[in-house]
Subunit: 311 residues, 2 copies
């Protein structure tokens, strides 16, 4: 345990990736260093799917959307006629896989039109409680990357404020992200459907609509960071081309910067995918990594453990 | 000074308003009380114009918008033809006064189309440096309500996270709100124009557009709170019907809640206005105050001082 206490990243193998994270944190927190950054400006942003938790064989939100669509059609038989429900009824997720964050956001928004945000929170909690990953047969919230949890904890112990900046729905993440990652609701940034306030002297509510307001992916990630945080992060973590702009925006600012790009290379303990994958497509960001000195993590080589249940 | 230390609200006269604030804070921070609220859930939201700083004879943002419009027309003579610049060219703010937050947001967005967010920040800083209030002849950032600054400090000293939720532009507030109120950029919620990311390997930027994305007023205030904070506040402060929904959303939640409604009644030290005012129109919220047990502040009666320069 004295080893564990002195090593903030015990699930990382010794190597360039681990060292670059430790060197960066030491440098920006050392008051005598020219690279010192005052605590208020220690902002760290992380993608969620494929960066903090598993996104294969498809985004968890796609599986959730499929189940919600089928339940909605059972509840409202007239939904059977609507185009958006056709493929989910046939158990076919191809439209959602090809359509990125927008497609699953739209399906969920259509399935839960007019629901209050409180009711939706319960739907997410119930679904997560009863659903299991098709390969690992565990709840999805156990498919967190232990080495990345260590990075979050290490950063916070050094005065960083950690945020999630994900293409996933804000309201799909908040019910579980605080417990899973130690990140409070106000530090969860994501996609969202348009919400409406329903005034009432005793029980007002906030209602979901079927209109998508914002998709927090690609170039919209730095935009969301500017809009909601209003500071340029000095640390960013991602794993796909959807995170490329966020990593670029983070590392082109002045002073020392850290970008972590997770490259999934371990088919045995997890999944191996990059250029040819529709989920977590990784091509341009990998090409850009060298020029920007991004820390590319080779999962097979750099991580001692992947998931909590693997020793 | 021992008096000042024991009294967290020295600029408030003794009375029901002051007492309700102190009683509330004591009650939710007392671990032995049934009303105890854990620190993470101590969220407090405040309107800005007319609640934390002066909004008369018109919103500061209107004066800023007028100046920006005139400067834009000088720089781009072809703007003279555009409808949106007609009244500002004639030094006529009536369209902006009648049009609420949206009108001044649109004018500013049109005047500064294609500007980066960094450049815009400098424009705001420069303008605030050289501009003075027409009646008080001081910089606008000195027209802060001292009693409300004390409330912000008192809440934070008791573990509250303080937010601004304003109809004003996010990017118009952030350059000065941290210094003025001690509220960091990530706790400033407001209206905004659509932003675009401009990718570049060395100097990417975030660009303003002339499209308005969100107006944070009226029913949109609780919506923005849900979207960005994701927790229901237990304290809200406002002064107009634009804050009515936010106060309602805050005080209809379970447990003890506090809403502060500032009623401007002091023409001598400041301004007196409510039902008949286009700026800071206050009617419905005042009608609703009793039923919800909102703390209505009578500026003339409840505040010992209004502005920092008044002793």
């Amino acid at each position: 345990t004295s080893r564990a206490q002195s090593d903030p990243l015990p699930s990382w193998n010794e190597g360039a990736a681990k060292q670059s994270i430790i060197d960066f944190v030491r440098s920006v927190t050392d008051e005598s260093s020219q690279s010192f950054v005052k605590p208020d400006d220690r902002i760290a942003v992380f993608d969620n799917d494929g960066t903090l938790w598993c996104e294969q064989p498809m985004y968890t939100q796609i599986l959730f959307a499929m189940d919600q669509a089928r339940a909605a059609v059972q509840k409202h038989p007239n939904y059977k006629q609507r185009e958006i429900f056709q493929k989910p009824i046939k158990d076919d997720p191809s439209g959602l896989i090809a359509g990125g964050a927008r497609a699953s956001m739209e399906l969920i928004a259509s399935a839960h039109e007019e629901m209050t945000t409180d009711e939706f929170e319960k739907v997410v909690e119930d679904w997560l409680q009863k659903s299991k990953h098709p390969r690992f047969k565990t709840p999805f919230t156990q498919l967190l990357y232990v080495p990345m949890l260590e990075v979050l904890t290490y950063l916070r112990a050094n005065g960083f404020k950690t945020y999630i900046v994900s293409g996933g729905g804000i309201e799909f993440m908040r019910p579980w992200t605080e417990k899973a990652y130690g990140i409070p609701p106000e530090q969860i940034i994501g996609s969202n459907c348009l919400l409406k306030y329903k005034s009432d002297a005793e029980h007002p509510s906030i209602i979901r609509t079927s209109t998508i307001e914002f998709i927090d992916d690609g170039d919209n990630k730095p935009v969301a960071i500017e809009k909601i945080i209003g500071r340029r992060p000095i640390v960013a973590g991602g794993n796909s081309d959807g995170d490329r702009a966020m990593l670029e925006w983070t590392t082109t600012g002045p002073g020392k910067r850290l970008a972590i790009l997770v490259h999934h290379t371990d088919q045995q303990r997890e999944y191996a995918y990059d250029r040819d994958s529709k989920i977590g497509h990784l091509d341009k960001a990998l090409q850009q990594a060298d020029a920007h000195k991004w820390t590319v993590v080779d999962v097979k080589k750099d991580w001692k453990r992947v998931f909590p249940f693997q020793q």
